[in-house]
Symmetry: C2
């Protein structure tokens, strides 16, 4: 990931409405959610929601597919992983002082050697 992409991603997430959307879609998983359902869940006007989804999509953090009249948005896990990787690796140089706390969660969710724990 390049620096400009990282900045676009950070900007997209640096907004309470958009961060809420992203978090909701992470919880929703690969199946994603229809734009209207997201709007109702977060109590946001349809056009406002559309603009917010566009920003996240343009940052590559969301994928979109049409299903009938609805458009289903889903979090792009790979892209988010790349952003986090950029922050730890390129931005922070993998300093132990910074990424030590991450080791714990990486350990929990992605055991390095043995079988991976199911998570949902």
């Amino acid at each position: 990931m390049e620096m400009t992409d990282a900045i676009t991603g950070l900007s997209a997430l640096a907004h309470d409405g958009r961060l809420a959307i992203f978090r909701l879609l992470v919880k929703a998983g690969p199946d994603g959610m229809a734009a209207g359902d997201i709007a109702r869940k977060l109590d946001t006007a349809a056009n406002t929601m559309s603009a917010q989804l566009l920003v996240l999509s343009n940052a590559g953090l969301l994928t979109a597919r049409r299903d009938g009249r609805s458009i289903i948005y889903a979090a792009d896990f790979e892209r988010m992983g790349a952003l986090l990787l950029y922050l730890t690796e390129d931005c922070c140089g993998g300093k132990p002082e910074i990424c030590a706390p991450l080791a714990a969660i990486a350990q929990t969710c992605c055991p390095p050697k043995k079988a991976r724990r199911a998570n949902a």
Copy 2:
């Protein structure tokens, strides 16, 4: 870390000048750098630099201390670690699909069991 703090941090980093400052200070380590040295290194006007440093400081990502006529800024590693932890844990729910790439770097910089590698 709370969501509003995370947003403040993301906003602070979502700017090319400020991200460059932060990266420079991460490289500089705990000793930090004087505001003027940062400004010269990044070819930025003094007052512009001051404003950018203020944003990062207000987000808690930098610490500042006076040394004679200079003011020394340093990256707050703990805070950055907390931001990354928020993004992986609270925002992304520690999903393996997202944090798997992080496991590698966490593995490299912070070995879980054995002695930690020195890193300059």
